[in-house]
Every structure is written in structure tokens, then in C-alpha cells.
Amino acid sequence: MSLTREQIAQRAAQEIESGFYVNLGIGIPTLVANFIPKDKHVVLQSENGLLGIGPYPTEAEVDPELINAGKETITMTAGASVFSSAESFAMIRGGHINLSILGGMEVSVGGDLANWVVPGKMVKGPGGAMDLVHGAQRVVVIMEHCSKNGQPKIVDSCSLPLTGKGVVNRIITDMAVIDVAETGLVLKEIAHGYTVEDVQRVTGPKLSIDSQLKAVAVL
């Protein structure tokens, strides 16, 4: 059965190791924060200039000058720091962020990512995504496996304008976990209730099957 948005976020949170500095994209990736176990020491970065994102504020704590990159009001953790956008992207571009978890519209067999131009809508701009995909040590894309009309979003070649070429390391969808390897795409995990054939049917490129193929472990 397809994983819910929350389950995708829960699986994505398993990518995060203790000690990691992580940047979570806008949308479902933001939900990932809710699934990071309390015993892991993780610092979340927001590209508008904050290291150490805390939980959403209570009504009393709301500060109009404290937001994340999704423009949501937030709080800071103990040990947080704020800085300019130049410093923030120096941090990102310089490879200091261990992991970036981003949404996607298409990912190609070579790890190209398209996620900034929505077909039929006005182009809103790349924001910080083009910097993040090159800067983070590891890029994980989370998205639905298929588009609303059932077309594969994992493709031989992206049809939408690219955010970055050869930048994605892993894709987590509602059906599977797939790695982008030198040799092509490798199916690592399958959501409960699906077969390898089910996943291959809605995936553009041919998948290699990992010898350790597992079920996605989510609640």
C-alpha cells in the first residue's frame, strides 16, 4: 500500500544520523523534522540564515523576525546561530551540510533533479534549491512515485527544466527507496504490499534489485 506523506517523512528521517547538520526543503520535507528521534543530536539549517531550527512557537512565542525558509514562524534551539544569506549559502555550498532532503517533480536515471518549474503554472523561481543540490554532502529526494495522471516521475531523462544535473543520491517515494548509483538505479526497499514488478511498471528506467532488498520500515 502506498506510504502516506507522514510515512514518507518517517522513512526519510531514517536517513539522518546523530551529529548531522540537515537542511529540509519546503513542503513534505519539512515534516521530516517531526520524525527525528529525540536521542539523535541533529541540527537543522534554514537557508534564510539560521542554524538550529526549533519547534513551531506557541502563540506567545511567535516572533515575526524568526522564520524558516518556508516563511513559517519558528523557534531556535539552544546553541542556535543566525547569520546572513551569504554566510548561509557559504555553509551550504562549502559542503558543511551533511544531508539535504528535498521535494521533486522528476528524477532521472543519472540523478538529475527537476523541482522548480511546475508545468502550466507561472515559474516562481529556484529559491535555494539549485545551491542545495550541489552543496549538501548527500541529497535525498522525497516525492510521490507517479504524477497525478499516473505517469512515472522517475525517468530516463527529465522533461521539465532541471534544478541540478547528477545531484540526487537517493529517492524515497510512496512505493520504494531507490538509490542513484554509477550503474543506474538500484531498488533498495519496497513499501509493504508492492512487488518489484509493481514498482518497475511505474518507473521509467530499468531498476537493478539490491541483493539486500528490504521492506520499507515505517509505522
Binding site: 512557537p57 506557541t58 543566525v82 544569506s85 551569504a86 539549485m130 532541471l162 541540478g164 544535473k165
Partner: protein, 233 residues
């Protein structure tokens, strides 16, 4: 001296066709009062360099309604319907820059670096026509510095020498813009005598700020008020 007595005085010499950098991310850390001044002054044909373009009835969005902006250089302009209308009708010119590249191009402008290489955008539409070069086996695109006739920045506190201190995530693009503007105007919520700010903790040294003005009555609108219940998280 640097201290201005009114917003009008602070922006008196801005002409039609000027380029202006405007601090802020979303609508946080924006120079509210200077934007209002520009609206009242009615200066037209502006090139605005700013990460975003405000929202429909607030911040830079107001200058769109009055058609004062001819060209926008930004990384993301999502929250503005009037923007979309003017862009689609061809009234408004738009240059998209990846956010980190925008920050670094402005930083380069203030720092006398004419150009630098960055990986962001390589292989995408935004690098089309630009030089791509390989360093240590990885491709990078050449990006050039950005400067502007004016920079509008907003700080929490400033002193009469133009030193500035920002509050939390209202810092964002303000420090680089202060340095990259040929004429930088800073609006501050608290204007202090020199010596009141700790020299160890100045975010923008006064050398970058040509004019400073104390303002009050900030609206500080919130774009996405997200809260949790008290006690939980």
C-alpha cells in the same frame, strides 16, 4: 552627517530608472519605511534586486501595483498575483538567480570581486550562455558581481556612524546589500550615539552605510503564522 531627518530626505536623490537593492527574505527584515517612501515619491522604471517581491498589498508588492518596477532580480517571486499578471503581459522584466548565487553576487559586488565560479545552476536554464569551467573534476559556472545605485536595508539598531545590528532572521540579505549599494540607506528601530554598540558585535560596519534614519511603527506582518499548542512541540 549620516543621520537623516525624514524618509523623504533619505531618498531625495533617487531618480526614475535607478537600481535599488532591497533587503529582506520573504517579508522579514524588509525596509518597510523606505519602500513606503518610494511608493509616495512615485519613482518609476526601477530595477529592484531583492530575494522576493513582497506580497500583493505589502512590501515590494505595493510598488508593483503602482507599476514603479520595470525589472526584478530575485530568486523566488511566488507570493504575488500582480507580479504574475505583469510578467505574463510583458510589462515586467524578470531575472531569476539561484538564492545562494544571488547572495554571493551581491557579496562580490560589495567586496570588489568582479566574478567567481559556483556549482549552482550548472546544466540548467539559468546557466545558459554562461561560461562553465571544470575545477578538480567538477563543473562550475562563472557568475558576475551585482551592485546597485542604492541599497535599502533594515536593522534593529544602528548608531550615528552607520554601524548596524540585525535581529534574528531579519539579517538575511541586508549586510551584503549594505556593502554593495553605492548609496546605502539604513532604517533602524533604535538609533544610538556612537560607543553604545559593542565593537565586537557589529554586523554591518558604518563604512558601508551612507545614510541612517530612525523609524517607528513597524507593521512586521507575518506571512505564515505557524504555531504549536502550548506545552507540546
Amino acid at each position: 552627517m549620516k543621520v537623516q531627518s525624514s524618509i523623504e530626505e533619505a531618498i531625495k536623490d533617487i531618480q526614475d530608472g535607478a537600481s535599488i537593492m532591497v533587503g529582506g527574505f520573504g517579508i522579514v527584515g524588509i525596509p518597510e519605511k523606505l519602500i513606503d517612501g518610494l511608493l509616495r515619491k512615485g519613482t518609476k522604471n526601477l530595477t529592484i534586486i531583492s530575494n522576493n517581491c513582497g506580497i500583493d498589498d505589502y512590501a515590494l508588492g505595493t510598488l508593483l501595483s503602482t507599476r514603479q518596477i520595470r525589472k526584478m532580480v530575485a530568486s523566488y517571486v511566488g507570493e504575488n498575483k500582480e507580479f504574475e499578471r505583469q510578467f505574463l503581459s510583458g510589462e515586467l522584466e524578470l531575472e531569476f538567480v539561484p538564492q545562494g548565487t544571488l547572495a554571493e553576487r551581491i557579496r562580490a559586488g560589495g567586496a570588489g570581486i568582479p566574478a567567481f565560479y559556483t556549482p549552482a545552476g550548472v546544466g540548467t536554464k539559468l546557466a545558459e550562455g554562461k561560461e562553465v569551467r571544470t575545477f578538480n573534476g567538477k563543473e562550475y559556472v562563472l557568475e558576475t558581481a551585482l551592485t546597485a545605485d542604492f541599497a535599502f536595508v533594515k536593522a534593529q539598531a544602528g548608531d550615528t556612524a552607520g554601524n548596524l545590528v540585525y535581529n534574528k532572521t531579519s539579517c538575511n540579505f541586508n549586510p551584503m546589500m549594505a556593502a554593495a549599494g553605492k548609496m546605502t540607506v539604513a532604517e533602524v528601530e533604535e538609533l544610538l550615539e556612537v560607543g553604545k554598540l559593542d565593537p565586537n558585535f557589529i554586523h554591518t560596519p558604518g563604512i558601508y552605510v551612507q545614510r541612517v534614519i530612525a523609524c517607528s511603527g513597524y507593521e512586521k506582518r507575518i506571512e505564515r503564522r505557524t504555531v504549536r499548542a502550548s506545552g507540546g512541540n
